[in-house]
Amino acid sequence: MNARIDRALAGNVGGIVGCAVLAIALVPTLGSDYVVAFGFQFVTWIALALSWSLFSGNSGYASFGHGVFFGVGTYATAAMLRHTDVPFVVVLVVAGVSAAVLAVIVGLAVFSSPRFAGDLFGLITLAMAFIVITVVSNLAFLDGGTGVFVREQAVGSWIGSSTGNLFIVGTLIAAGTALVALAASVSRWGAALRSIRDDEGVAESLGVPTYRYKVLTFAVSAGLAGLAGAPQAIFLGYVEVGAVFTLNIPLLVIMMTILGGITRWWGPLVGAASVVVVRELLLDIGSPELSQIILGAVFVLVIALLPHGISGSLPRSLTRRKAPATEGAHR
């Protein structure tokens, strides 16, 4: 039994690492600029969807603040590039840590009371978004409202020299997020989170330290989103509050995760891939409003017809290999 789990797990880890290595090796060298740029956005969405699901999917606390953590990463990067000369690795760490710190502060407050569960939690995270937007747009150190021209600062550095390099960083972040998501799906940590989703009261009575788990996972999830925000700052070149903190980001991320399904760790990955590809295909139909309407309608239909998302609705034979791993989590 154990051997089988380990083999399945090793397969998954190998799969993630293999895909990442393959992507890094092939996409920037063989792909056109469009493929690389699209690929970069693609892996960024994957990282976002997986990191959102890591906390929200597992624990059932749906956050509308994921766009904020992503944006905080972007702005931390812009600020670091503008005010300091440190190498990009340091910038990356700061981006992730800033987002995680914000999540810890919010998490410590919000999770202290069982009142803030369900939709109330969602709206508090939404409120956090509005507050962060106001703060960033009013602090000249971060933005002050005029936007930050990052391209000037990044020019000449390795990371700023090509989209291919951004793609490499983005892919590494996505792969790292996937590994964390995988870890959550097979570890006691993930099982504890899922027990919170099923019934928080019971989980607590069984001795799961729910408060600590929630705060920590929220922070990890936010930190990963912040990491994903770092290369985004350089990709954009010009960082502006209105564009960085749009409500579309958390909505799309939630949509991706729900579409992909949360019953398997790789569900959000499938969801992100489908949404990104469908959006790109819809660009061709010529009527942007119509494509938005179609996207919304498809979303409603999927919720109606596939309540467990795409991954949850695949026949078991396709996913049997993963089954022992999930059981293992409940030992």
């Binding site: 749906a62 508090i124 106001t134 703060v135 747009s137 009013n138 909505l251 409003e289 919304g296 919720i303």
Partner: protein, 303 residues
């Protein structure tokens, strides 16, 4: 910056009246959220849709704005019933329903922009001067002014909230709605028919969006992305007022807008979007914090 007391009174008055408009939008959201368990963001889109339909009927058919309600109220009732029926048919949980309403929110924005163009539409030039000229308050406060449309917002808000509060608290069906929210199973054994009641509540809540939409059309220039700007004030009012409490939602909307306006008068207005949410945070955090302090003090005394 020194501010005269009249300026303060005027800004508070304006805030209160704008609060009435947001309160009438929050009313439907509060009722649906509190009593049907659906945090219905589509309600904001419906309000926008109501405003656009009013705009079209008034500007193209030259209808009296109040006459448009004859069309929009029943139509919105049916939309409300339809949407709730989908939730019932899907057996949608609260979060699923929330997501569906967000999808509908997105769809409506695009549909409105497709039908009416994304450009600004403004009904104001078509309104009679007597309706757009502000009125001075009678003695002894002639320095204060109000707009007829704001008074209309006030009247609509008070009437709708009053009727809703009365219906919920004082009528048999209203009590049934409350009972259904608290324990649907037992309410059923007492003869409460959940499905028709739920559909009716949803329909009525949607109808209030038609009225609020009419006020919006008379009050401000329309653009498809307007609901995004309402979310903050409306959600804060709904939550501060207590879910499912019409009077609470209205009072909270008025108070929040008054605070926000007073803030903008004294402090940099660019921080004002954070004010409403700051109030909400204080309110939400205040409860547990007070309890925590009280508990830890008791614990120390016991120890």
């Amino acid at each position: 910056m020194s501010v005269s007391s009249m300026a303060l009174a005027q800004t508070l008055l304006n805030g209160a009246l704008l609060g009435c408009l947001f309160g009438s939008i929050a009313l439907g959201l509060s009722v649906k959220w509190g009593h049907l368990g659906v945090a219905d963001f589509f309600h904001l889109s419906l309000t926008l849709l109501g405003a656009y339909v009013t705009y079209s009927l008034v500007s193209e058919q030259l209808w009296d704005p109040f006459l448009t309600l004859v069309v929009t109220v029943p139509a919105f009732f049916l939309i409300g019933v339809g949407v709730q029926w989908i939730f019932l048919a899907l057996k949608a949980e609260a979060f699923t329903a929330l997501l569906i309403t967000f999808a509908l929110f997105m769809v409506t924005e695009s549909a409105v922009s497709m039908i009416w163009s994304p450009d600004l539409l403004n009904l104001r030039p078509m309104l009679a001067d007597s309706f757009t000229t502000s009125l001075r308050l009678p003695e002894p406060l002639p320095q204060l002014a109000v707009q007829p449309v704001d008074l209309l917002a006030l009247v609509c808000a008070v009437v709708m909230v009053g009727v809703s509060a009365f219906a919920l608290g004082r009528t048999r069906s209203g009590r049934a709605v409350q009972a259904m929210r608290q324990d649907s199973e037992i309410a059923q054994t007492l003869g409460v028919r959940v499905v028709p009641l739920t559909l009716a509540v949803s329909g009525l809540a949607a109808s209030t969006a038609a009225v609020a939409g009419m006020v919006v059309a008379l009050r401000m220039p329309l653009s498809p992305s307007l609901p995004l700007q309402w979310i903050g004030a409306v959600v804060v009012a709904t939550m501060l007022g207590g879910l499912g409490r019409p009077v609470g939602a209205l009072v909270a909307a008025i108070v929040v807008m008054m605070i926000q306006n007073a803030w903008s008068l004294w402090f940099p207005p660019q921080w004002s979007p954070a004010v409403a949410f700051g109030v909400l945070f204080l309110f939400l955090a205040g409860g547990p914090a007070i309890r925590f302090v009280r508990e830890s003090m008791t614990a120390r005394r016991l120890a």
